[in-house]
């Protein structure tokens, strides 16, 4: 677990580079909410295993920098409380707790969660939004904002340059902006077998193939495959959210199907849905199918094939 926490540090550092102290405040709020909930209602001592901390950091990383800390805290509480403990704690939950926390925030605070602070043109140490606002009070600070690449794409048909998407100097959630850092951290986790590489691979291949095909058909209407891959929360979701071991299939064949399903849903929501981004819902929907996928993709026992052939 602590290795996964370690692998999130570079991403958090990148987020801090772009969003200043706000990145740390938002992540701290979400992490605190998650860990405190686990400590209060989880199995005794379970909060020390690091998994609640991962949930909290991941939740923080998919929130905008200007989010008030207390909202992030509430998201962490909901994610762990309803997403994990209600199911019986570690290993028992169906849905990714971080994403469930985010889905709750999206429903509860639709404005705050879609207010994207600007990356450039502000002093590094300045807060990017009302991070320190008191619960249920109005906004204190008026910060410069910008649209996300996917929002620009969807509503204004403007494509952001690939280079800035890869480095991360674009608007968006804390952890989703820099593609390069996510890929490096994901590669490390895959090598250490903390995540099943088949899941991000199948998601990204599906999205790339589908987006490429659509782009070929109508380049003016549909964005290119690289843009689809590097924008929004796709990489963060594919590498860190979909690969949550508890809520992804145990079999490798199941992992491929799971990933392809997420990829399909992401393209579907991004292009034809009402929202600019669909990674969160795509993963949550596929989470619900994991028990069935596990059942359908049981491994074939050694010697079973031949037995059928001869019998």
């Amino acid at each position: 677990m602590w290795n996964v926490v370690g692998s999130l540090v570079p991403i958090l550092a990148t987020a801090t580079w772009f969003f200043g102290p706000s990145a740390l405040l938002v992540t701290a709020g979400a992490t605190l909410g998650a860990v405190v909930t686990e400590a209060a209602w989880g199995k005794p001592g379970a909060w020390r295993d690091g998994s609640a901390m991962i949930t909290g950091i991941l939740l923080g990383l998919c929130l905008p920098a200007g989010m008030p800390m207390w909202m992030a805290f509430v998201g962490g509480v909901f994610g762990i409380g309803f997403g994990k403990l209600l199911f019986g704690g570690l290993g028992q939950n169906v849905f990714n707790p971080a994403l469930l926390g985010r889905a709750f925030l999206q429903a509860a605070f639709p404005v705050a969660i879609t207010t994207w602070p600007a990356v450039e043109g502000v002093r590094w140490w300045s807060l990017r939004g009302p991070n320190l606002a008191l619960p249920l009070m109005g906004n204190g600070i008026d910060a410069a904002t910008m649209a996300t690449p996917l929002g620009l794409m969807k509503f204004e048909h403007v494509t952001s340059p690939l280079a800035s998407l890869a480095i991360g100097s674009e608007g968006g959630s804390l952890g989703e902006t820099s593609a390069i850092v996510i890929l490096i951290c994901g590669g490390y986790l895959a090598l250490r077998q903390y995540l099943n590489w088949r899941i991000p691979a199948s998601i990204l291949i599906t999205v790339a193939a589908l987006a490429g095909l659509l782009h070929l058909m109508d380049a003016a209407r549909f964005p290119s495959a690289p843009f689809m891959l590097f924008s929004g929360g796709l990489l963060l979701g594919a590498v860190f959210m979909a690969t949550d071991m508890v809520t992804s299939p145990v079999t490798n064949r199941g992992a491929w199907i799971f990933g392809i399903g997420i990829g399909l849903l992401v393209v579907l929501i991004r292009i034809w849905g009402g929202l600019p981004e669909g990674v969160m819902y795509a993963i949550l929907i596929m989470n619900a199918l994991v028990p069935s996928l596990n059942r359908l993709t049981q491994p074939k026992v050694f010697g079973a094939v031949r037995q059928k052939a001869t019998a």
Partner: protein, 450 residues
Amino acid sequence: MVETGGEVQLSIGASFRHGVHPPELKQLTAQVKIRRLPFPAEVVLPLSQHTGKPARPVVRPGNRVERGDLIAEADGWVSSPVHASASGTVTDIGLSPHPDGTFKPAIRIAVEPWSGQIPRPRLVPAWEALTPKELIEAIRGAGVVGLGGAAFPTHVKLSPPKEKPIDHVIVNGCECEPYLTTDHRSMVEYPERVHLGVRIMMRCLGVGRVVIGVERNKPDAIEALERTRPADLDVTVMPLTVKYPQGAEKMLISAVTGREVPSGKLPMDVGVLVQNAASVATIAEVFETGLPLIERIVTVTGLGVRRPSNLIVPVGTRLGDLLEACGGLTDDAREIVFGGPMMGASQADLDTPLTKGTTGVVVLAAHEVREQASYPCIHCGHCLDACPVFLNPQHLGKLAGVGRYDEMVAHHLNDCMLCGSCSYVCPSNIPLSQQFAAAKMALRQRKPAA
């Protein structure tokens, strides 16, 4: 070259799919010459040292026996006789600790001090002159069983039913369990015996071709077998990938022949017989010396023992006597295991005797024994990638946890050979293999009642 750490294995050999790579730790005894253990003061010979029915004693307390005398006869076809492993007086026939953790009937012999331990003069059968049937009868009479752990009576294996002819004999020289070097040293020091045993088995079965499978981490064994191979014998020494459990029968057959033993069936169903290297050498020994199986080679090793050794040990030697001969335990010795650390069984009593099937004694030091709590399953799926027979240990473990044993059978519990690969890779430290062993035991005990 490839020895010691065994981490860098660039050469690709024949193998099977899945499996794990535990540290080999064989360097403690891999180069240690086999020596003979002095006769202990007492030997304890369990009547059940093999798969099948226990033997029936033919001696009574007070009887004097010479080394090599029959003391218990086979009870039926799938059974095996037991012979005195030292000269002395039978003192008792009663319960004694058994390596499987229970108490089982055993014959105790107080070994005669100062005895020459010279067996009675006997006729050594000239194997060339015997028919296959007579050969098998001689092997049966000598109490030969597989020395790889399960101790299945060899004569049963050598007499397959007519409708299942054997066309392949594989000598198992993999020894994939960490620490153990019993087969390794047998192959290095007695390669001629292995070849003679092969010859006799070929005669018994009418098979023309034999493959000796050896993991690549034993280059000296491969070299010794190649060097001593008789020109007229069609024997191939096949180097195999170092991977656990390469030495499991079904895995070895798949690596050597590409055949897959059907679920629930035996190697003979695909025309293959597998015999472990030390057992093959024992067959040769029977026809060299005329003596039955009364001693075997045992590796005593581990960081918890002062003088790791490969020993020739009389069957029935008690664990305590054996450890004493190896310099005793170190201060941080924590756990004693019969067999290897992956599949072996922990021992609680220093009076437990070694049986014919004891491949080694591993004494683990405190820092090698993990006493961590286990955590909930996080569905990482690593156990599925490790299982050599393609089970879903994660699901089986879940069922075992709630005692739904019948459902476990539906999920192929019977195909599990308890190799321990799943427990080894589990990041949550769940004792999967142990749970499966318990489930199997519970189902076995339930069966007669139902």
